[in-house]
């Protein structure tokens, strides 16, 4: 139904030879046509039997036009090689090689023939739009409601995170302020606590509570010491240190009026 339309048994005059060749889609197409025109059973295509007519067609076409497409000539050369292997093998191995190659080609021709038959089978079906027709004016009973939003809290929160972290990246750099115990803080604390202490006490006892960080602790100690010096200067506190690098002690002074020299000030 597909290929049989092309009859190949009429003797071809030279000028129509090329035209005929152009009617084929490549060497495989021509080979299949030759195989079918010799009424081979598809299952047993004899490659040897179609080599001769193929070479004859190509030779005829070349006499008309030299510039024959390369793939036709490549196939011709390959078939000539195959023929020599099949007819005049130098040894057993060559014969086997030839048989394998011939079988591979026969298999390709069988597959191509099968696909032609399938194409014909498909084409013979009642094709929609060609032979049978569907409803020309279909009705659509579908309403599409796009009003609903697909959102959830997780998406909102993650969007916020994304926006905020990007915003933070783009912002100017602000160093994080250190929360250190200032001299003012120490003056306030020392002034408040010193009155209630009757005797000499270690200066360290007047540090604020809960200073875990060593830096903060040392800063607070320094601030408290400066506050102590400040208060000793106006007489509200007295300081003493018994030896170099020894502990510093503090007690309440005699009052702001007595602005004389501090008793101890190392």
């Amino acid at each position: 139904m597909t290929l049989a339309a092309r009859d190949s048994d009429e003797p071809a005059p030279r000028d129509t030879l090329l035209l005929r060749l152009q009617g084929f889609e490549g060497p495989l197409d021509l080979l299949l046509d030759l195989a079918r025109s010799q009424k081979f059973d598809l299952a047993q295509i004899s490659i040897l039997a179609i080599i001769e007519p193929y070479l004859a067609v190509i030779e005829g076409a070349r006499r008309v036009r030299l510039e024959l497409a390369a793939d036709w000539l490549v196939m011709a050369a390959w078939l000539t090689w195959l023929k020599s292997r099949l007819l005049l093998p130098a040894d057993q191995k060559e014969l086997e090689d030839g048989a394998v190659a011939a079988e591979a080609l026969a298999e390709r021709l069988r597959m191509l023939a099968l696909m032609r038959l399938l194409a014909g089978w498909l084409g013979a079906r009642p094709i929609l739009g060609q032979d049978v027709f569907a409803r020309g004016a279909p009705e659509d009973h579908t309403d599409i409601d796009r009003s609903r939003l697909a959102v959830d809290l997780a998406a909102l929160v993650s969007s916020y995170l994304r926006a905020a972290s990007r915003g933070a990246r783009d912002r100017l750099y602000h160093p994080k302020p250190l929360t250190l115990w200032t001299v003012q803080d120490a003056l306030r604390r020392l002034g408040a606590l010193l009155g209630s202490v009757p005797d000499w006490a270690l200066l360290e006892l007047f540090l604020p509570e809960g200073l875990a960080d060593p830096t903060q602790r040392r800063a607070a100690l320094a601030s408290t010491f400066i506050a102590g010096l400040e208060m000793a200067r106006d007489g509200t506190a007295r300081l003493r240190q018994n030896e170099a690098f020894g502990p510093i002690q503090v007690r309440a002074g005699l009052g702001p009026l007595e602005t004389g020299l501090p008793e101890e000030d190392t």
Partner: protein
């Protein structure tokens, strides 16, 4: 008037079915044999389909098959397509939700990029945000906040249900303190 042959009915039925537009009596006459009267064939076809799921109706100077009117509501399928908010809109909405009321310039400051009119309009159209008055600063910018519809949409009782930034492991924004 000759009897209506089944073949004519089949042909008319197929033609009306397959045509994309109503079929006129004249067009029908052209494929029916000469002895067939198009009008009679149409009426025979109409009565064959009477009471069925599909009916032959007059339309646009010809005839056409249409779904029986009583069935149309039962055939109607409503497909709900959930629209996703674009990423930019979602981020903007989130910032407004957390910092409201705030002006457009403030949104842009937090996001670090300019805010398109389109995004703002999309949020307004979805009724998720609304103007919350003007700020008494130079330029008197409009400030924005979220709506009740926003709360409904996200299943929130009130704005305090939003997880606080600290819970999101966000460092407190340095400039946000003010």
């Amino acid at each position: 008037m000759s009897a209506i042959e089944e073949d004519w009915l089949r042909l008319a039925e197929a033609m009306v079915f397959a045509s994309s537009a109503p079929v006129t009596r004249r067009a029908l006459s052209q494929i029916l044999p000469d002895e067939a009267d198009a009008e009679n064939v149409i009426e025979a076809l109409r009565s064959r389909y009477a009471g069925r799921g599909v009916e032959l109706v007059d339309a646009g100077g010809g005839v056409q098959f249409r779904t029986a009117p009583d069935l149309a509501p039962r055939l109607r399928r409503v497909i709900q397509l959930s629209r996703r908010l674009p990423r930019v809109a979602m981020e903007t909405l989130a910032i407004i939700a957390y910092h409201q009321p705030l002006s457009r310039a403030e949104i842009e400051h937090i996001r670090g990029v300019a805010l398109s009119q389109q995004t703002l309009e999309a949020l307004l159209e979805a009724a998720l945000i609304e103007p919350k008055g003007r700020r008494e600063t130079p330029g008197r910018p409009t400030t924005w906040g979220t709506t009740t519809a926003f709360l409904t949409q996200f299943g929130l009782k009130d704005l305090r249900e939003l997880p606080p930034p600290e819970d999101l492991l966000l460092e407190p924004p340095a400039s946000g303190a003010g």
